[in-house]
C-alpha cells in the first residue's frame, strides 16, 4: 500500500518534470494514466481511463497566463481511485475534478507567493554576476513544486483509497450517471477553446467539412487530417515566394491590377 502510494507520488513528480524537459505533454492524463495502471496492476484500465480524462481535461491546459486545474494530481489520483474501486472511466472524472481543483489552489500559493520570492533571490545573485546560482534557483524552484505534487499524491492515496472506496460506493446512481453524461460533453469545452484560438471566417467551412466527414462518412480523425493536408497542398500556393524572387516583373504586373 505504502509502496503503491510512493510509486504514484513518483509518477506525479515525473509528470511535473514535463516542464523541465521541454513542455512535452508528459503531465497529461493520457501519458500518466497508463503509468498509474502499471503500478496498480491494470494497464488496460489505465490506458482507457487516461484517454477519458485526457478528453475531459482537454480544456484544462495552460495557455498564456491561464492556470488550469492541476491535471497531474487530479489525473493520477482520479485514475488510481477509479482502478482501486473498480468503477472504471465513469468514476475517474468524478474523483479527478475536485482533486484537480484542490491541488491548483495549492499550486497558486506557489505561483503567486513562493516563486516570486525565489525570483527575488535570483535577482540578488544576478546583481553579483553569478550565472550559476540563478540557474540553480530556477531548477530548484521547479523541483520544489515536483516534490509538493509528490507529497499531495502520496498522502492523498495513502489516506484516501479506503475512504474513497466507501465514498464511491455511497454515491447515488443518478450522480454517477450524471457525471458520465458530463464527461461525454466536456471535451466540447476543449474543442471550443482550441477552435477559438484558430477560427476565422476563411476556415469556418473546413470545421463543418471535418464534422460531416466524421458524422456521415465515419472517417477516423487520421483520415480527416490526411484529407486536410491534401486540401492544403492543392489550394494554397506555398511556392509563391519562389516565383516572387524569380519573376519580379510578373509580380509587379499583378500588383497593378489592384
Amino acid at each position: 500500500m505504502m509502496l503503491k502510494a510512493f510509486l504514484l507520488g513518483c509518477i506525479a513528480f515525473l509528470g511535473k518534470c514535463d516542464l523541465a524537459t521541454g513542455t512535452n505533454q508528459l503531465q497529461r492524463p493520457i501519458i500518466l494514466g497508463p503509468l498509474v495502471g502499471l503500478v496498480l496492476g491494470d494497464l488496460d484500465a489505465g490506458i482507457k481511463i487516461g484517454a477519458t480524462l485526457e478528453l475531459a481535461f482537454l480544456g484544462s491546459y495552460s495557455v498564456g497566463a491561464f492556470i488550469p486545474p492541476n491535471v497531474i494530481v487530479g489525473g493520477v489520483l482520479g485514475t488510481a481511485f477509479a482502478i482501486v474501486t473498480g468503477k472504471g472511466p465513469a468514476v475517474a472524472f468524478t474523483m479527478a475534478f475536485p482533486i484537480a481543483l484542490l491541488a491548483v489552489a495549492i499550486d497558486n500559493i506557489f505561483f503567486s507567493l513562493v516563486r516570486p520570492l525565489l525570483g527575488k533571490v535570483a535577482d540578488n545573485y544576478a546583481e553579483k554576476g553569478n550565472v550559476h546560482m540563478v540557474s540553480v534557483i530556477h531548477m530548484a524552484t521547479g523541483f520544489l513544486t515536483c516534490t509538493v505534487l509528490f507529497l499531495m499524491v502520496f498522502i492523498g492515496f495513502s489516506v484516501g483509497s479506503d475512504a474513497m472506496k466507501k465514498f464511491v460506493e455511497a454515491i447515488p446512481a443518478v450522480i454517477t450517471n450524471g457525471l458520465t453524461i458530463a464527461t461525454g460533453l466536456l471535451p466540447g469545452i476543449g474543442f471550443a477553446m482550441l477552435a477559438q484560438m484558430i477560427m476565422n471566417k476563411k476556415v469556418v467551412p473546413f470545421f463543418f467539412l471535418g464534422f460531416v466527414l466524421s458524422a456521415y462518412f465515419k472517417l477516423p480523425v487520421v483520415g480527416i487530417a490526411l484529407l486536410g493536408l491534401i486540401i492544403i497542398f492543392t489550394t494554397i500556393d506555398f511556392t509563391g515566394k519562389k516565383t516572387q524572387l524569380a519573376t519580379d516583373v510578373v509580380e509587379e504586373d499583378d500588383d497593378d491590377d489592384f
Binding site: T21, G22, L101, G119, V131, T183, A192, L194
Partner: protein
C-alpha cells in the same frame, strides 16, 4: 554563414557565439516553464537558457555581465517551444552591445517584448491549437480502446515536430537576428502557413467534435414497443447533432468570456439534471 561548430558564427563583427553555444542554448531552453510564476512568469527560465552564453559574451566585463543578467531577468512569457528563437536574437543583440559602446541596451528588452506577443500567437495556434489537437485526436482514439500505441503516438506526434522546431529556432534566431520575422512576414509565407494550419486544425476539431463529444438523448415519444426514440429522429436529421450543438454552446460561452471552471461545474450539474429526468443517456 559557413560556420563550423568551434568557430564564432559572427566572428567578423567581434562575435564569440559558436554553433555549439546555440546547441547548448537549445538544451537549456527545455525547462523554460519550470519556475513560471504570476509576477515575471518565465523570467528565470529565460535566464537559465541564455546564462552561459551571456557569461561567454561578457567574459572580460563583469559589470556588463551583471547588467545583462539583470536585464534578462525581466518579465518574459511566450509559447515555450519557440523561445530559443528569442534567445538567439537576444544573444545576437547582446554581442552587438558588447562590441559597440554606443549601442542602446534597452533595445534588447524592447525587441524581446515586441517578439513575445506575435510569436506566442503563432506558437499557440500552431502548437497548442493544431499539433496538440492532432496528437490528442489520434492518441485518444486508440487509447480509449485500450491500445498502448495511443499514448505513445500522442507523445511522438507532439514532440518530434516541437523538438525540431526548438532546434531550428535556436540556430535561426541568432543567425537572422531581428529582421527574420519581418522578412518572412513580408514574403507572405507566414500568412499562408497560418491559413494552412488553421484549415488542418479546424477540420480535425470538426471531426473530433463528432467522434469524441458524446451526447445521446434517452427521450421517447409514446410508450411500449411503439415508442419513437427521439435520438433516431435526430440521427435522421443529422448524425452528431447534439455533440455539435453542445460544442457550439460552449464556443458561444467562451466568446462571452465565461469562466472555464464555471463551465465545467455547470456541465456536471447539467449532467446530473439530465440523468435525473432521462433527458440524456449515460
Amino acid at each position: 554563414m559557413t560556420s563550423k561548430v568551434g568557430t564564432p558564427i559572427n566572428a567578423e563583427n567581434g562575435g564569440v557565439i559558436t554553433e555549439k553555444d546555440l546547441v547548448r542554448m537549445f538544451w537549456r531552453s527545455l525547462p523554460m516553464e519550470f519556475s513560471w510564476h504570476y509576477e515575471r512568469q518565465m523570467h528565470m527560465g529565460f535566464e537559465f537558457m541564455v546564462g552561459p552564453a551571456l557569461k561567454k559574451i561578457y567574459k572580460d566585463d563583469p559589470e556588463g555581465l551583471k547588467e545583462a543578467l539583470h536585464r534578462n531577468l525581466e518579465f518574459f512569457n511566450c509559447t515555450a517551444h519557440v523561445t530559443p528563437f528569442i534567445g538567439g536574437i537576444t544573444l545576437a543583440m547582446e554581442e552587438m552591445n558588447r562590441a559597440n559602446d554606443d549601442f542602446d541596451a534597452s533595445s534588447i528588452n524592447a525587441v524581446k517584448a515586441a517578439l513575445m506577443g506575435p510569436l506566442s500567437g503563432i506558437g499557440d495556434s500552431l502548437i497548442l491549437g493544431t499539433l496538440r489537437v492532432l496528437a490528442v485526436g489520434i492518441g485518444t482514439s486508440l487509447a480509449i480502446k485500450g491500445n498502448i500505441l495511443g499514448p505513445i503516438l500522442f507523445f511522438l506526434i507532439f514532440n518530434i515536430p516541437t523538438f525540431i522546431l526548438r532546434y531550428v529556432c535556436a540556430i535561426k534566431g541568432y543567425e537572422l537576428g531581428a529582421n527574420y520575422l519581418e522578412k518572412v512576414q513580408a514574403s507572405g509565407l507566414m500568412e499562408k502557413f497560418m491559413l494552412a494550419a488553421a484549415i488542418l486544425g479546424v477540420m480535425v476539431i470538426g471531426g473530433m467534435t463528432n467522434e469524441l463529444v458524446v451526447a445521446k438523448t434517452a427521450l421517447k415519444i409514446g410508450s411500449g414497443k411503439s415508442a419513437t426514440q427521439i435520438q433516431s429522429v435526430l440521427d435522421g436529421i443529422m448524425p452528431g447533432l447534439l455533440p455539435l450543438a453542445a460544442t457550439a454552446i460552449y464556443y458561444k460561452l467562451l466568446q462571452k468570456k465565461t469562466n472555464v471552471i464555471l463551465m465545467i461545474i455547470g456541465t456536471a450539474i447539467f449532467g446530473i439534471i439530465c440523468a435525473q429526468f432521462g433527458i440524456l443517456a449515460a
